[in-house]
Amino acid sequence: MSASNLLAATGLAYDYGRHRGVADIDLALAPGEVVGLLGVNGAGKSTILQLLAGTLGPGAGRIEIAGHDLARAPTLAKRHIGYLAERPALYRELSVDESLDLAARLQGLPRAKRADAVAAAKRDTDIQDLGRRLIGGLSKGMAQRVGLAQAIVHRPALLLLDEPTSGLDPSQLHAVRALIARLSTKHAVIISSHLLAEIQAMANRVVIVAGGRIVSDRPAADPDAPIWIELQCARPPSAAHLSQLLDGAAVQTHAPGTFRIPGPADASMRERLADLAHAHDWGLIGLASVADSLEQRFMQATGAIPQESQI
């Protein structure tokens, strides 16, 4: 663990009875990072966030937040965390101001600072006009904003956001995304989602979770991402035949009539493929170098690309 890490989790595991929730979770986060936790529903994203937020105790492993052990010094560690659960923890019978004041109280903010903290959180989440409204009467998008305000009221260094845009309509979704982007300039953020576009839009590092384990942890815009040569033909050969012609290169069927071959960024492989397409009359439609997309990375990391399509 680096001394500059805001969060360092090592060897986390949690079981739901006999069912494994998550295992072998190692995750570190530096200040200013926005990490996208990507995975299909049930992959273990929420469990990881609950463990990091301290609402669940891990069966194994250790979590340090800003240098404080979450199990041994939970009070100190939790002061650095703002947590928005998948279903925002809001009391319907309280007004927005009461709800934020409660959150500030629970975080131990002294009376003299609470009013300012509540006002700042409302300003940051654009809910200045909602102060007296009852939570029970708010729309889902507004409630989500209040949830976010509740999470940041004590100015935590780390924000844990579990599916913050789930169930929002397109305009609410856009507004909440913009809000999170703004918050990420002041806080380190871990945001979980099963939506690739969401993670792509907000995170600068992507952690892919599958089957309760982290299967990939790389920058969102990865300069080392593999380059593929994408070949599209009207009369395509079989993947096996193409692989044979390319001296056994790994050929992946990306879509009907479209193959992907890992290759160098220079033009040599493209020229070779163009010559082969011409010589075998494959009806060349397109030939291009493409970087590994997040979707591609996700599919590979989670095993969603079937093995038989790779030769």
Binding site: G57, A85, A103, Q107, Q150
Partner: protein, 256 residues
């Protein structure tokens, strides 16, 4: 301390804006009022019964307190089930669990919060014999001991209900658990009146005395008869403390 106060305020607010709390308070008042009217009617019709039962305070007020204790067996679990189990079910519990508030502060705040409406119910019940005092002299010692006993047994039921609420995320199940536990305590007290003193290895045992000592109802009975003993007060304090300590341990186990 700020956290404990926050939880207490939250719980008080939640319970006082809940129609259920007011309905339960009204129901308790109605039941108590009906019983008191029936008792007074009985006294009016059979004044000689007062001499046999120890006077109006013991007969009418003591009877009222015993009856209200029985009503509380139903009322308290319905209020305490909301404390934690309902929060878990509604998803609001994560806000408290993710906060730096300790489990002890959570439990104490919740307990103090639920005792608010229960103390209101107790105060309304206390008003009934006090109204009676304007018409007839009452033994204030017996009345005070009875009211202390009623408040203490309410606190015991509330602590037990809070413990049950930590065990599940289903409010109805939490209510069923605490109701069963309280009824078992009552049953134990009823069983203790059976005259059974078995001899084991030459020694005569008195299981009834042991059961009476364990059940909170036995300790309440002495207070309702006007006897304030330090041992009973210590018992109630220990009972409440034990239930709350177990609730804290349960929450700690969940968090760690």
């Amino acid at each position: 301390m700020t956290g404990l106060a926050g939880v207490w305020r939250l719980e008080t607010r939640r319970l006082f804006v809940s129609p259920l709390s007011w309905m339960l308070a009204a129901m308790t008042q109605l039941m108590g009022g009906l019983l008191l009217v029936m008792t007074l009617t009985d006294i009016q019709n059979n004044p000689q019964s007062l001499a046999e039962t120890g006077g109006v305070t013991v007969y009418a007020v003591g009877g009222l307190m015993r009856f209200i204790t029985l009503v509380l067996v139903l009322v308290v679990p319905l209020l305490t089930m909301r404390c934690i189990a309902e929060e878990r079910k509604q998803g609001t519990w994560s806000a408290l669990m993710a906060s730096p508030v300790t489990s002890s502060a959570l439990v104490l705040g919740k307990f103090a919060g639920v005792m608010g409406p229960l103390t209101l119910i107790w105060a309304l019940v206390a008003a009934m014999p006090l109204v009676l005092a304007t018409a007839t002299p009452l033994d204030m010692g017996i009345l005070a001991a009875g009211l202390i006993g009623l408040w203490l047994i309410t606190a015991c039921f509330a602590a037990l209900g809070l413990l049950a609420s930590t065990l599940t995320r289903e409010p109805s199940l939490a209510a069923a658990i605490s109701l069963t536990a309280i009824l078992l305590a009552w049953l134990a007290y009823a069983v203790s009146s059976v005259d059974w003193q078995p001899t084991v290895l030459g020694a005569t045992l008195d299981p009834a005395a042991v059961i009476r000592g364990i059940s909170p109802i036995g300790h309440l009975d002495r207070l309702l008869r006007g006897l304030i003993a330090l041992s009973d007060l210590v018992y109630f304090a220990a009972f409440v403390a034990a239930c709350l300590a177990l609730a804290v341990l349960r929450l700690d186990a969940e968090r760690r």
